[in-house]
């Protein structure tokens, strides 16, 4: 019964040739492959070159007072890049150590906040009846500005690094909680049915389905949080800190040292972009399978 016809038709079930791309292939093939590689390289190069060119153009226009002219600004309001560079070089060691300090607050706070936010989303998904309220509570914390948060956190955690980490933690929780919740719940009903058919426990549904389904949303939240955490740390330093980019920035601006203030902003931007792109790299690795990443 099984033997005969099945074997005879077995070839039908076989599939088109699959080959290791580097092993065989005609000359034409290789050129084509090289072309593709080349294209990818060009694409990558463009990703870096374009913004850099735009950046240089921007800086040149800035230095040539283009923006000053059209917006009627004076250099004491918006210093020239050369002045900023000067301030940057003159204060390099302080700036680097402060950047490290602020980045530490941002990263630690962001990791803490994102984890907590993710847990809130887990709870809200697992026990929607009661857990959904926690989502609202976390979201509402977003409405408390840092100026109010700073003194409270300062009281609770002292003037040290702890209070800024706490500020960043609170600031980053909501984005993660809301996004992760959406990701865990925007599951295709059939995919859930499959889990139910295996009598999957709540935990297993998370492990095999919801977590993965939420990843695109989670990474979006991480990208938002990477930037939010830097702002949080910087503004958190305005009031109670004796170190860090925010402290220096606030002080510089209050005594009119705009070049040094902008040097702080430049350092913050570099650190923030670095932080952001690390998260983006991770996203590319973890989301190979997602529609947005397919080629």
């Amino acid at each position: 019964m099984q033997g005969g016809p099945a074997e005879k038709n077995a070839s039908w079930m076989e599939q088109p040739t699959i080959s290791k791309s580097n092993v065989e292939g005609t000359g034409e093939n290789r050129i084509e492959a090289n072309n593709k590689n080349h294209k990818r390289m060009v694409e990558k190069a463009r990703m870096i070159v374009l913004p850099v060119i735009a950046g240089i153009l921007f800086i040149v226009l800035w230095e040539l007072r283009f923006f000053h002219t059209i917006f009627q600004l004076e250099t004491y309001q918006l210093p020239l890049p050369s002045a900023i560079l000067e301030a940057l070089l003159a204060n390099m060691s302080t700036l680097i150590s402060y950047t490290g300090y602020t980045l530490t607050e941002a990263v630690v706070g962001m990791l803490l906040g994102s984890s907590l936010g993710f847990i809130v989303a887990l709870v809200a998904t697992a026990w929607p009846k009661w857990g959904k309220g926690s989502l609202t509570v976390v979201a509402s914390l977003n409405a408390v500005p840092i100026v109010a948060l700073a003194p409270i956190m300062n009281l609770w955690f002292g003037s040290g690094i702890g209070s800024r980490i706490a500020i960043v933690t609170i600031m980053t929780m909501a984005a993660m909680a809301i996004n992760a919740y959406k990701g865990m719940n925007n599951v295709h009903p059939f995919a859930l049915d499959l889990m139910h058919s295996y009598a999957a426990t709540k935990f297993e549904i998370f492990k095999f389905l919801r977590i993965f389904n939420s990843l695109p949303y989670v990474f979006t939240a991480l990208k938002i949080n990477a930037t939010a955490s830097m702002i949080g740390a910087i503004v958190g330093e305005f009031f109670f800190s004796s170190r860090g980019l925010g402290y220096l920035l606030s002080n510089s601006i209050k005594i009119g040292r705009m070049p040094l203030g902008w040097a702080c902003i430049i350092m913050a931007a570099i650190a923030g972009i670095l932080f952001y792109f690390i998260v983006e790299r991770l996203e590319k690795v973890f989301l190979k399978w997602h529609a947005s990443e397919r080629t």
């Binding site: 019964m1 099984q2 005969g4 016809p5 099945a6 038709n9 077995a10 039908w12 079930m13 076989e14 599939q15 699959i18 295709h188 059939f190 995919a191 049915d193 499959l194 139910h196 058919s197 295996y198 009598a199 999957a200 297993e204 095999f208 389905l209 993965f212 990843l215 190979k288 399978w289 997602h290 397919r294």
Partner: protein, 260 residues
């Protein structure tokens, strides 16, 4: 009909009705359906598109609860049966997890049942062979053709050798040859594992070739219009498809349809 089998009802539906309600309108998808499926039996559901076959399957699997009526599986409630991991289901669409490669989609139920890794790997190789996708084990679902995706879903359902196998048009995306071959493979697995199979299909020949009994549903609302016993002996062989009995059954069922 498999004469040797003792009648122990495995799936019993009593006066089951299902009503879908949306804002303004409601659809009566199933109306007063009563069936009893024997343990180890192979049953097919036939019926026009939208008559409630999928709904019936979903009720059997405890994925939805009927609006009215009772359902018993192996003497227990459907929920208990589901929690005892008795079910293997092939859905009407493949329902593969995008983030899992082909092989990982197939091992999913095994992972959930705690099968050891080495065992999983040998099992997956065998299943991939069965559905002819050996070379595609490391691909992601979107890199497969529609029929290939459906075959992955079939392999996944077979992976756990479920006591109750519910299949919703599993072979509809396959060419006739693959389909016939998989029909035979399915029967061979079934005869070995001796599980209960409920099989939805639109192909009358397929239903006859595979089943002990065929349930014909009529639409609007979904009702069980008739039950046809298939008196062909087991094991079924390809040449039975050409037998007069087979043809006679085909035309009988076609007539049943037209009478609807």
């Amino acid at each position: 009909m498999a004469v040797a089998k003792v009648f122990t009802p495995e799936i019993e539906l009593e006066e089951v009705s299902m009503r879908f309600q949306t804002d303004k309108t409601e659809v009566l998808a199933l109306d007063n359906v009563s069936v009893a499926i024997q343990k180890g039996e192979f049953v097919s559901l036939l019926g026009p598109s939208g008559c409630g076959k999928t709904t019936l399957l979903r009720i059997m699997a405890d994925l939805i609860q009927p609006t009215w009526g009772e359902i018993k599986v192996a003497g227990k409630t459907a929920k208990e049966a589901r929690l005892a991991q008795k079910y293997g289901i092939v859905f009407q669409s493949p329902v593969l997890y995008d983030w899992r490669k082909v092989k990982d989609n197939i091992t999913l139920p095994l992972e959930m049942m705690g099968t050891k890794k080495s065992e999983r790997e040998s099992r997956v190789d065998h299943l991939l062979e069965l559905v002819g996708l050996k070379k595609f084990k490391d691909k992601y679902p979107w890199q497969l053709s529609g029929g290939m995706q459906q075959r992955v879903a079939i392999a996944r359902a077979l992976a756990m050798e479920p006591e109750i196998l519910l299949m919703d048009e599993p072979f509809s995306a396959l060419d006739e040859f693959s389909r016939e071959r998989l029909n035979e493979e399915l029967l061979s697995i079934w005869s070995k594992v001796n599980n209960t199979v409920v099989f939805v299909t639109h192909s009358i020949t397929e239903a006859i070739f595979l089943s002990d009994r065929i349930f014909v549903l009529s639409p609007h609302p979904g009702r069980l219009s008739s039950v046809v016993e298939v008196p062909l002996p087991r094991p079924r062989t390809a040449d039975m498809r050409q037998s007069p009995d087979f043809y006679e059954l085909i035309s009988r069922i076609r007539n049943l349809f037209e009478g609807v």
